[in-house]
Amino acid sequence: MRDDYEVSTGVLSAAGAAITALTPSVAAVESGIKTQRLPGAEITVAAELGLFRDVWSDATHAVGNALDYFGRAVSDAATAYRVTDEVAAVRFQRMQERLGG
């Protein structure tokens, strides 16, 4: 396990938010794929279009979910680093005070 850390919480938080913000765009793509329909005809690609539509909208939905999940995880990590840093700072401050620094 590595023990060298270098984290910029502000930038990390912004990166997480930027990734999460992609989700609605992916949802719009999914919605566009899901609406693909053809009116009835005897010679038609409707069945194959249906297969394509279902699988690709499902895949797009999964990508949207993954981006949302990942973006939030990054933002949560940034928050966790910041909170940890703040808690540690307070503890060190109290320790210094107790030591009469």
């Binding site: 396990m1 910029s8 930027a18």
Partner: protein
């Protein structure tokens, strides 16, 4: 020749999809391609920011790797969408070209066909007085040929067939690309519609999160809300829920039949494996059929923990109950394959643990979500899932006759063992019927919720004590709102306080009654409500005598089980198929209406008294009725 394909005006119609509709698809897909590219670029733009912010550390490395994977998946989308758009656009161009050619062919036909007909009208022998007229017609014909560039109408027909062939070829090429793209993204070995990404990528939401996303604070209770929730899910999300809780979703109204079937068959297979293992663990060969249970030795029964009464109906030990569940599973499995795939069967409900192992199950022959005509067969006394083959056999017979009665529409017939039917010991009470009535009303109402078109033609066909159950569902639980007609066969009574069709909340033309004159159940019971086969009840009684009916008094047990008889092509099965396919008004024309029972008052010197009269008892039964 008049090819019957597609739309268009003129002699020759346009084959294939509407090019403007295909153009709409192309445009949408091109827009989505650009949108997906944009998302992909923005993600790529965010990654250096992520890397710089998390330059060192295990979590940072992992996150960066993960981001790369998501980016790879995302990068797959634009080229896939673009390929689909390109294939469809090529197809659109072929369709457009075909339409232009067909327009020209129609013009050629409009010019040449009348001229050709005029010449043909003269026949093979030209009378001298008609020679001038013939010469003019022939001259016009030659001019028309020259004008359109075709030698005859037959040549234009040939050209049209060639265009149709080219459209078919273009369709096949486009279809191959779309199907290939679907395969490329599909989950290997998965159900239709599932993508591999659905299972590979993280972020699958839990049931509670999915419910919240759809606006539900808890599990919806109405079938309509369940449907709304289900519609909000992607195929992978649905599959995730089905796999996690198959018993729940397989038995929840509002979930489409295909998904319920997958879930219930998963439970069924898992149950069977568990029951078999129970035998194996105790050194006993697992039964493959219900008959094998009769061959267990006393020692084997002891090892299995069974009581040694010689039969299992007592269900007085957990092991006895498990054996009943095992029988449920075996019979359900066998019934599902009854039609050998024609029609497809669907396990719409399955829970072998209910009612002390007697279980709850529903098997559909044909898909109720797509069928125009749906029948729900409700069994009666002593029915249970371990007799599913009998209930299923009846439903399958009705399916086949109904399909013959209306071959132009899809039919589905459901063998509904959906309630705890009584035994002989408690058949005189209506409590089982009332509990079943509530379930029946809910299940039938849900058929309309998941149906693709939303308004199928639904018939409940209730036999024996099942007719008491259906009667109470009509009187108390709103079943009348969900059915187009009701058939009661071998009814001991409709339960409750109903004395007429109106009391069942039906119109006269919605109730049909099959009541064999010598069926013991229709002639001797009295505690289960009014007999609907009486004229005074107001329904239509159809013929239900069987050529194999028993001779003698009207107290015959066998006659109670012949309503679905397809071996003799019985009156009853034929009449029920008419009703199920919405042709109840044809019963009279088909000679299938029977005179109802009635009560006559006899007056003699001793006074007046009433006697029950059944005109059907003296009628000679008929057979060989097939649509």
């Amino acid at each position: 020749m008049r090819p019957d394909e597609g739309g268009g005006s003129g002699h020759y119609t346009y084959p294939g999809d509407d090019p403007s509709a295909v153009a709409g698809l192309v445009s949408t897909l091109q827009t989505q391609t650009k949108a997906a590219e944009s998302v992909s670029e923005r993600l790529s733009g965010a990654l250096p920011q992520l890397r710089s912010a998390w330059a060192q550390g295990n979590a940072g490395d992992t996150a960066y790797d993960h981001a790369g994977r998501v980016r790879t998946f995302l990068a797959d989308l634009p080229p896939g969408l673009a390929s689909a758009a390109a294939a469809l656009d090529s197809y659109r161009a072929d369709l457009t070209r075909a339409r232009t050619t067909i327009t020209d062919l129609n013009h050629a036909y409009a010019v040449l066909a009348p001229a050709e007909r005029r010449v043909a009208a003269f026949g093979d022998w030209i009378e001298p007085r008609e020679e001038v007229a013939y010469d003019r017609a022939h001259s016009d014909y030659l001019a028309a040929r020259s004008q359109v560039g075709y030698g005859s109408v037959a040549d234009i027909d040939t050209a049209y067939r060639a265009v149709v062939g080219r459209v078919r070829g273009a369709r096949d090429e486009c279809a191959a690309v779309l199907a290939g793209l679907a395969r490329q993204q599909a989950l290997p070995g998965g159900r239709a519609g599932l993508s591999r990404l659905g299972g590979e990528l993280p972020g699958m939401l839990t049931k509670e999160e999915l419910l919240r996303r759809a606006g539900f604070s808890s599990m919806p209770t109405s079938a309509a809300d369940v449907k709304r929730f289900w519609d909000s899910l992607s195929p992978s999300e649905r599959q995730s829920l089905l796999a996690a809780e198959p018993k729940l979703w397989g038995n929840t109204n509002g979930v489409p039949v295909i998904d319920r079937d997958w879930a219930n068959q998963t439970v069924l297979d898992s149950d069977l494996a568990r029951y078999r293992q129970y035998f194996i663990d105790r050194g006993v060969t697992p039964p493959d059929s219900i008959d094998d249970f009769d061959n267990l030795t006393i020692e084997e029964r002891r090892r299995l923990g069974l009581d040694n009464h010689g039969y299992y109906i007592d269900l007085d030990t957990a092991a006895d109950e498990l054996m009943e569940q095992y029988k449920d599973a075996l019979k359900t499995k066998a019934t599902l394959s009854m039609g050998h795939g024609t029609p497809p069967t669907f396990l719409m409900a399955y829970d072998a643990t209910l009612y002390h192992g007697e279980g709850r199950a529903a098997i559909a022959f044909g898909n109720p979500d797509t069928a125009t005509n749906i029948a729900v067969c409700v069994p009666g006394l002593e029915s249970r899932v371990s007799k599913m083959d009998q209930i299923g056999g009846d439903a399958y017979a009705l399916y086949r006759e109904s399909l013959a009665a209306d071959p132009t529409h899809q039919t589905a017939v459901i063998a509904w063992q959906g309630y705890d039917a009584p035994e002989f010991s408690n058949v005189m009470f209506q409590d089982h019927a009332d509990a079943g009535a509530r379930l029946l009303a809910a299940d039938v109402a849900a058929l309309g919720v998941t149906h693709g078109a939303g308004s199928p033609n639904v018939t409940v066909v209730a036999h024996s004590y099942g007719s008491t159950t259906a009667g109470l569902a009509l009187q108390r639980y709103g079943l009348a709102d969900s059915v187009n007609q009701v058939v009661l066969i071998g009814s001991p009574g409709v339960g409750g306080e109903a004395h007429s069709v109106t009391d069942l909340h039906l119109r006269d033309d919605q109730l049909y009654v099959g009541s064999a004159s010598r069926d013991v159940v229709t002639t001797t019971y009295g505690q289960l409500g009014s007999d609907p086969s009486y004229d005074s009840f107001g329904g239509t009684r159809f013929k239900a005598e069987n050529v194999n009916r028993d001779f003698g008094f009207p107290w015959q047990f066998d006659d109670h089980s012949r309503y679905y008889d397809d071996g003799t092509h019985s009156e009853s099965l034929y009449a029920m198929a008419d009703v199920v396919t919405g042709q109840g008004d044809q019963l009279d024309d088909h000679g299938m209406v029977a005179e109802g029972r009635r009560t006559d008052t006899i007056t003699s010197y001793r006074g007046s008294y009433s006697i029950d009269v059944d005109p059907e008892n003296s009628r000679t039964p008929t057979a060989g009725h097939q649509h």
